[in-house]
Amino acid sequence: MSNIPADLKYTESHEWIRVEADGTITVGITEYAQEALGDIVFVELPKVGTNYTAGDDAAVVESVKAASDIYAPVSGEVTAVNGAVVASPESINSDAYANWMFKMKPSDASAVNGLLDAAAYGKTTGA
């Protein structure tokens, strides 16, 4: 049973999203995703300033086993990236929720309402 914090939003493709007070969002991958991937050895992050449509490939996580695309959960612009996970990809294995990947400013603030809550995400992972 994976840890699924109640204060976050989720996607079916296993990204977590924290809606910040200023309306920006912080994105990472879930505990379930890091477990499924196994030891993570490479992370590629988007460039700050890039505009994505919801569902676009924004980042890549590679484990010893496989490569996995990380999607933009909503449409918007990348405002920050976490270089620490590029330098230490394994930090995502040790704490998937503390080690975020990128932040976005959604083009439509209400778009986050369409994301899954913890209970709905838990169902998709069978947790």
Partner: protein, 372 residues
């Protein structure tokens, strides 16, 4: 579809293994960290459930004569009981049905160990050749049924010593035994044990075969002696570092073994005829099988990525991963004949073309990095 399970399935679940569908088998990919399991094998001792692989016993009056024609390597290299040989079994078109190890026990009994996913096809092919040649041999798979055997691979610099702690009777029989030999040891706490100094990691160690119902007791005894359970994930990174081919990735029934780095396993010197020989001689070699080390950041080398040489010739990665020992991303690749060891080539990863060096295999052997 119900997945097949080895006799160690309960043991894996008790250890909290992450289980995956591996070619129809419910197998452990890791027990926590694949990288830690990898390092345990390079530095100490680890063990793998390889009971999905299949022991095949061939018995009868002239097994040697039959295998001379069946296998691409020459069983006449096996003159002393207990000696083992790695070989391909080829189609008449000189592509690879399977790669296997053949153990010479006696003139009327040779034992083969074949891959999991190919076992049924292999045994059917052997039976067909048995009938066609009128060899009159008994060919018996030992994976299912009353006489089922289970294999456990114990690998690493301390693997043999730990096996001797658990199976003291094996020490006399195997202490002086050279690599690529096998001993059948009777009277152990786990019944008769086949103890072979073989493996798939580039480290010393044993592959042990016991009756299926003894497998869990042996596994638990090895764990108690400090042998770390390791999953298929670590098995793959270890064999890749060791430059060892994986059937289904690096060669299969579409690939000529000369193009998969297996020329060393094919005897074309003797007059002996074998299935696939004529086609192999006619086709020759038109690709070479070498290692790659990625020199730029930007991803991990994976199978099916395209390799582009400086002159524009292309090749393909057949297996790739992140090497825990080297802390670099490495691959096995089928490359054009124009490429030389030491060349820089480029690999297409997503939207990028990243530089990689061409190196000789293996990357790692007995804990030491050989290619850098």
């Amino acid at each position: 579809m119900t997945l097949k399970a080895t006799p160690l399935n309960n043991a894996h679940r008790a250890l909290g293994a992450r289980m995956v569908d591996f070619g129809g088998w419910d197998m452990p990919v890791n027990y926590g960290s694949q990288i830690e399991e990898h390092h345990a094998v390079r530095s100490d001792a680890g063990m793998f459930d390889v009971a999905h692989m299949c022991v095949v016993d061939i018995k009868g009056a002239n097994v040697r004569g039959f295998l001379r024609g069946l296998l691409a390597n020459n069983v006449d290299k096996l003159q002393i009981s207990g000696k083992a040989l790695y070989s391909c079994m080829l189609t008449p078109e000189a592509t690879v049905i399977d790669d296997l190890i053949v153990y010479f026990i006696s003139e009327d009994w040779f034992r083969l160990v074949v891959n999991a996913g190919t076992a049924e096809k292999d045994v059917a092919w052997m039976q067909q050749q048995n009938e066609k040649t009128g060899a009159g041999l008994t060919i018996t798979q030992r994976r299912d049924g009353a006489n089922a055997m289970a294999l456990i691979a114990v690998q690493g610099p301390n693997a043999r010593a730990k096996v001797w702690e658990v199976i003291p009777q094996a020490k006399d029989a195997t202490a002086e035994m050279k690599p690529f030999n096998v001993a059948l040891v009777s009277g152990t706490a786990f019944g008769e044990a086949m103890v072979a100094r073989t493996g798939y990691t580039g480290e010393d160690g044993f592959e042990i075969g016991v009756a299926a119902e003894q497998a869990e007791a042996l596994w638990n005894a090895l764990a108690a002696a400090g042998v770390k359970p390791a999953g298929l994930g670590a098995r793959d990174t270890l064999r890749l570092e060791a430059g060892m081919n994986l059937y289904g990735n690096d060669m299969d029934e579409t690939v000529n073994p000369l193009n998969a780095g297996l020329a060393w396993t094919i005897d074309l010197v003797s007059e002996r005829d074998f299935i696939g020989k004529a086609a192999l001689l006619a086709q020759g070699q038109n690709q070479q099988f070498l290692g790659l080390i990625l020199r730029e950041k930007g991803g991990v080398l994976r199978s099916h990525q395209k390799v582009i040489a400086a002159n524009g010739d292309t090749g393909e990665i057949t297996s790739g991963t992140f090497s825990p020992t080297m802390q670099q991303t490495i691959a096995l690749a089928r490359l054009p004949m124009s490429v030389q060891v030491g060349d820089t080539v480029h690999v297409e990863i997503r939207d990028k073309k990243l530089a990689a060096s061409v190196v000789k295999l293996p990357f790692v052997r007995n804990g030491k990095i050989l290619a850098a």
